[in-house]
Amino acid sequence: MSEPSPFLQLRGICKRYGGVTALDRVDFSCTAGTIHAILGENGAGKSTLIKTISGVVQADEGEIALEGRPVQFTHPVEANRAGIICIFQELSLLPTLSVAQNIGIGQQTKRFGLLDQKVQIRKAEELLARVGCEDINPRTWVRDLPLSRRQMVEIAKALGKDPRLLILDEATSALTSADVEKVFDILRKLRDDGLVLLYISHRMNEIKELSDVMSVFRNGQHIETFPKGRHGDEEIVELMIGRDMGHVFPPKPPPVAERAPVLQVKNLSWERQLDDISLDLGKGEILGLGGLDGQGQKEFLLALFGVLKDATGTIEVEGKRVEIAGPQAAKSEVLGLALVPEDRKTEGLILSMSIGQNASLASLRQFRKGLRVDTQAESERVAEMLRRLQIKIGAVDDPVSSLSGGNQQKVVLAKWLMTNPNILMLNDPTRGIDVGTKQELYQLFRELADAGTSILLYSTDYDELIGLCDRVMILYQGRIVRELSGDEITETHIVASSLNLHESSETSRNDQYLSSEAS
């Protein structure tokens, strides 16, 4: 049986940035009508590969052929014209433009040289309906939408360009589980229509569910391409990291009957997004916040960090009632709070500043010597922290933007660990991070907890809640609907309570969910 000829073929592609080889003589091809997953740790060359395919960067060596004809893309627009559309990990939406304008910006329908706004809006409505988001008003500014909705707009925008090869780079990482299902249905339909889909994700179960073919990359090299099912999970992970995986999560300590409460929250409410939340966080405990995305978890952490105005309810730290005026007060030695925010590129880091400057930004006070900063003490402490977190860097003076996503997140953590927090709040800290780094972070969180730091962890990844947390609170519409501890923390329970299903109907709805996932 002859192989169908590939839609896209890369031969001997090399790409170097300065001294770093991002792609090393890569041969790669993909065939129409398949969902092709690309796997690899961060820094394996996945991003450079898709940037090369979609014309964002040009290869130093090698050739690209589309349906057998050699092509050269010098600009994303040229790739778009050839039907290669990319949904990037970094959202490519324009915040102060309307949803309809964002969807229509690539290909305009014109009437007398003017953009036809009615057509634009109608087209946006059609595309939004196609991805199951009829609830989004196409006249709304993108900036007024929550992150998960923006991602759906991004997908609608890509579909509007009539793709033949669609690249999804972590396109589902910001989505709610319900939206993921919708997107998967669309993707399968597109595959059946004969498109090629290149799919990049760090969620292994999504890849297993969706893809037909997988390619593994490591250190800029194409390691192996194989059909789904040839290798088991552990083999795939080994291919990706080139070493034995071992256990992903560190072992949990035996449950402690009574932990001394470090943080006590009572009846916390804010606007319509937080509704009467009460919880205790014990010393050395890892407390998980779960539930669907956007149920108030993020706002809860922000409220504790003093970012939200006019929140009601009481907060006690070490038994003393406190009013948290803002991040400045929250991080003080008295309160000892730290927050690793949701978006490391905007809220977590100052991308244009160096690794060292970012790391010491929250704790500069410690190094004050008269009016100036004791740079020697500062750099010693930074170096110590970078070592402790095993951050792979060239020099501390390099811009933090030069690091891979996983290492950037470690710098954010280093920044907050340098303030010696008693309570560490983490907002989805492993989003878009490779398996190896994730494992290191899990280890670190457990070590911190064992040393007495209390951790509040919001995660969109159920496995993390199950594998890492001592207790889990499930939020639904700003309320805690369920507390899970010990053996109760299972995927079944988390999924059920995330959807706020009542105990009686839980089992049947669960089966439904699981069977739809397996299909």
């Binding site: 964002v56 994303p76 627009v77 778009n80 990037f88 970094e90 959202l91 490519s92 939406l93 324009l94 915040p95 102060t96 433009l97 304008q101 964002n102 910006i105 690539g106 305009q108 014109k110 040289g113 003017l114 953009l115 706004q117 008003n137 006249r139 709304t140 500014w141 900036r143 925008k157 804010w270 606007e271 706002e299 922000l302 970012v307 939200l308 105005k309 006019d310 803002g326 809220e347």
Partner: protein, 351 residues
């Protein structure tokens, strides 16, 4: 309209500017001894037009996330050029007219090239080019003066009847008679607003907004960033040129006045901000800037009619006026910042 709430939210700045203008101009015309008359309105609109054009010009680079410090200089350069070219026969004047508009466009195009191909920061590129434009203006007109055809100037700066008679038609009569009294400048302003609206609805207009909203996302969406910026700066030059041309008609002369050029530039930025355009780019529009310019002028008008015996009588003293103008400007801009108080999530302040 089903989406009026959304419209209101997305056009707050414009609506605030219109409100402020109605307040200040209303106060002025009610304080004026003769009250609101066609002649007064005509005089006021003539006084506003050049700044309105400067403000419209400034809006477009600001929308792309840039700034144009040469708006006043282009205006001055075209003003001096017009004082050389508009003193002849009808045909010569028509050619001169076109030459002046082209000159403004060309200046803007040069700015665009500096920003796009020179890869200079807009603020420094246009600071340098503004000095060059003023230099050329001084070369054309070392001392104030020049000649402008009187009939042309009168037709362009009086009302519609005059303009119609100047081209050989009769004035309006009957039920349209009141229209004949509308100042010519108002028609020009409407024409310019129409050009703006047309631009905004073209692909280039949307692209200008897109670049200001997020240059990277615009690039990734396939926007031709360079072309869009070139067009944006060129159109800015065109609007500034129209302002300069008008100034020559209004004053019947040209004047390479450096302080005046700087004042136009700075006031144009103030007008843009009052009109609700974000200095970060991507949000706002030139219609808001028109009202921003009108607010600035209306505030100054009020000083003329203030009653010296009243509590605010000290404002009639010109020495106090810059100070008060500054305070009013600050207050006007602050209205646009009131939304900060409604914010419950402090992170949104930075967005």
């Amino acid at each position: 309209m089903k989406h009026w709430r959304l419209y209101f939210k997305q056009n707050q700045g414009l609506l605030v500017a219109i409100g402020l203008f109605l307040f200040f101009y209303g106060a002025y015309s009610s304080l004026h001894p003769q009250g609101f008359t066609a002649a007064l309105f005509n005089q006021n609109s003539n006084e506003c037009f050049a700044l309105v054009m400067a403000a419209m010009a400034q809006t477009i680079p600001v929308l792309t996330g840039g700034l144009d410090l040469s708006v006043g200089a282009i205006l001055t350069l075209v003003n001096c050029l017009a004082s050389e070219l508009l003193g002849g026969t009808a045909v010569e004047n028509a050619i001169g007219f076109a030459a002046c508009l082209l000159a403004g466009l060309a200046c803007g195009f040069c700015n665009g090239c500096l920003v796009v191909y020179g890869r200079l920061q807009p603020i420094i590129a246009t600071l340098a080019s503004s000095a060059i434009f003023i230099g050329i203006a001084l070369f054309i007109r070392p001392t104030p003066g020049g000649t402008v055809n009187g009939d042309l100037a009168f037709a362009m700066t009086y009302d519609l009847n005059e303009a119609l008679m100047a081209v050989g038609l009769s004035g309006l009569s009957g039920s349209l008679a009141w229209c004949g009294q509308i100042p010519t400048t108002v028609f020009f302003a409407l024409l310019m607003a129409l050009i703006w609206t047309f631009f905004k609805r073209t692909q280039f207009g949307l692209e200008a907004y897109a670049i200001g909203a997020s240059a990277e996302a615009a690039f990734m969406s396939g926007v031709q960033v360079k072309r869009a910026k070139l067009i944006a700066y060129s159109l800015a030059g065109f609007f500034a040129g129209v302002g300069g041309l008008y100034l020559a008609l209004q004053t019947s002369s040209g004047n390479a006045n450096i302080p005046q050029a700087s004042a136009y530039t700075l006031n144009s930025i103030a007008a843009v901000v009052i009109g609700g355009t974000s200095l970060y780019g991507g949000m706002g529009g030139a219609i808001g800037s028109i009202f921003g310019a009108l607010v600035l002028r209306s505030v100054a008008f009020n000083f003329r009619v203030i009653d010296e015996q009243s509590a605010l009588g000290f404002l009639a003293n010109p020495l106090y006026q810059p100070l008060v103008e500054g305070v009013v400007l600050l207050a006007a801009v602050s209205i646009g910042a009131f939304w900060v108080f409604r914010i419950k999530n402090r992170l949104e302040i930075f967005k």
